[in-house]
Assembly symmetry: C2
Homo-oligomer: 336 residues x 2
Amino acid sequence: MSRNTRVVLSSRPKGVPTPEHFRVEEAEVPEPGEGQFLVRNRYWSVDPTQRGWANDAPNYLPPVAIDEVMRGFAVGEIVASRHPDYAEGDVVSGLFGWQSHALSDGSNVTRKVLEGDMPLSYALGILGLNGVTAYFGLLDLCDPQPGETVVVSTAAGAVGSAVGQIARMKGCRTVGVAGGPDKTALCREKFGYDIAIDYKAGDIDAALTEACPDGVDCYFDNTCGPISDAVMARLALRARIVVCGTAAITDWDPTPMGPRVHRQILVARARMMGLIAFDYKHRWEEAVADLTGWLRDGKLAANEHILDGPSAAPGAIEMLYTGQNTGKLLIKVDAD
Amino acid sequence: MSRNTRVVLSSRPKGVPTPEHFRVEEAEVPEPGEGQFLVRNRYWSVDPTQRGWANDAPNYLPPVAIDEVMRGFAVGEIVASRHPDYAEGDVVSGLFGWQSHALSDGSNVTRKVLEGDMPLSYALGILGLNGVTAYFGLLDLCDPQPGETVVVSTAAGAVGSAVGQIARMKGCRTVGVAGGPDKTALCREKFGYDIAIDYKAGDIDAALTEACPDGVDCYFDNTCGPISDAVMARLALRARIVVCGTAAITDWDPTPMGPRVHRQILVARARMMGLIAFDYKHRWEEAVADLTGWLRDGKLAANEHILDGPSAAPGAIEMLYTGQNTGKLLIKVDAD
């Protein structure tokens, strides 16, 4: 029978994990016990949050232990089941780890994937963590109003591109910040941003001032660096800031310094809020239903960047932090 | 007849205004025109926000012009009126400026003071801007729950002392941070804090860790400096942070650097909110009614620090920023 190909964390990174921190190995495929089932993973997700999981620092989940399978989202089909709620052939997404075969008792399942007309990989991106993050971060925390200016950092990324498109559907002016002419072109042409700013091209302060003459009503932040500093200096009254990711910071130990945000928050009576999509577990299906509807209606588009096979996994998280990916980064488990 | 004694801004400060930026002068007492009335001020309020008003920097109100009367709150009685809604003898509080006699058309009135059993000066502190700020910042923005840990900086101050006492009434554990043994004693003995930390006495990180074993649920911040940095490192899940004042920062140009707060906000799914009490104009009486009731019932106490006469005004704002005041700082307009 086939083997379980898995990517384990072999040493502890400080900051962004790189290939040297992982080992790809083979193990036996486990047998499901009573109340368990076996998932044959087809895609692994590559997410910025895995940086935090690999580090030994306070987080919303404990760190991955050394020599354990790297924690990560995956999607696949059930190939054997001794669980009453899951049957062979069911397609499921969940926190199955970076391995080809995963045992589960159901507790780490995100959901059964029922949208057979959608690409399977979407379950990890636009119909998974990224899309749901964009959906609730924007609609629940920012509550954007028609005519408001919404600024998105990593605007062409898996989360940012969805934020921009949903904000546009809600009647907002959308301003995307991304790195390089290819990504800003994508922002304008595929994701419909009214304005796309290339932060690598020069003066982001001047570009933001021009793009946001009435200030920034909503800021969906995936960076926490100089881009954020420039946006925070331009808040409109009652601005809402969602802190979703911190891509511009490679290491949080020690805490990096930046301009204090207190006065801007005070003067604008702004609201800066942390977002972790798992907090919306109870409303997950609501987001997936809306996102699926928008995809089917052609109102929402998603870009994917799919790496080929497990050997690509050790370098994948680093790609996110150097901005090498264009769109949702995934690993196809069975190499072509 | 008497003269109008007034304190004018004579030059533009950068940061905290000091005596050299003001001039005390006498002018004629104006006559009310149709639709106006004349207030004889008894107390002037000294508020941290006046630092911002005196500076030429973006704020929620335009800067005070050079050679104009310093903007400030005051309380007094109406001595002449040609306004249908205001009668001679009415006691009013409002933004009447640092002058002994002020004309008003009613637009800068905070309210008519009807609580004749309360000290007149309370209308500027515990029953005025400070009390109302504490009330809405804590109850509306933080929404503290019984058993939660509430940390207050400038805990013995005009706003902080009210926050601590209201939080205690709501069943919270209260931790006050103040400077020096006199103020921490006041925190414990007069304002009922469960724990009072003297930030001048040593290791605030260790003291906060001991005082907040389960983290900080609510942080009412009046400082924006090292105290805030220490508190922000100890947020509990779903912490609420109110940014009310920035007493630890003497100058915002250029923006001072500090540890980035983004990751703490993200991991804790915290909410950091700017507060300006004027936003609660429509609910002002609700706060005053509750605060008055608590004062009458002996559940709430207020400290005042009253300076004697207009000559004390030029140095008064600086006193706030060097922590020389104990309690609400006021100027008694008619020197003893």
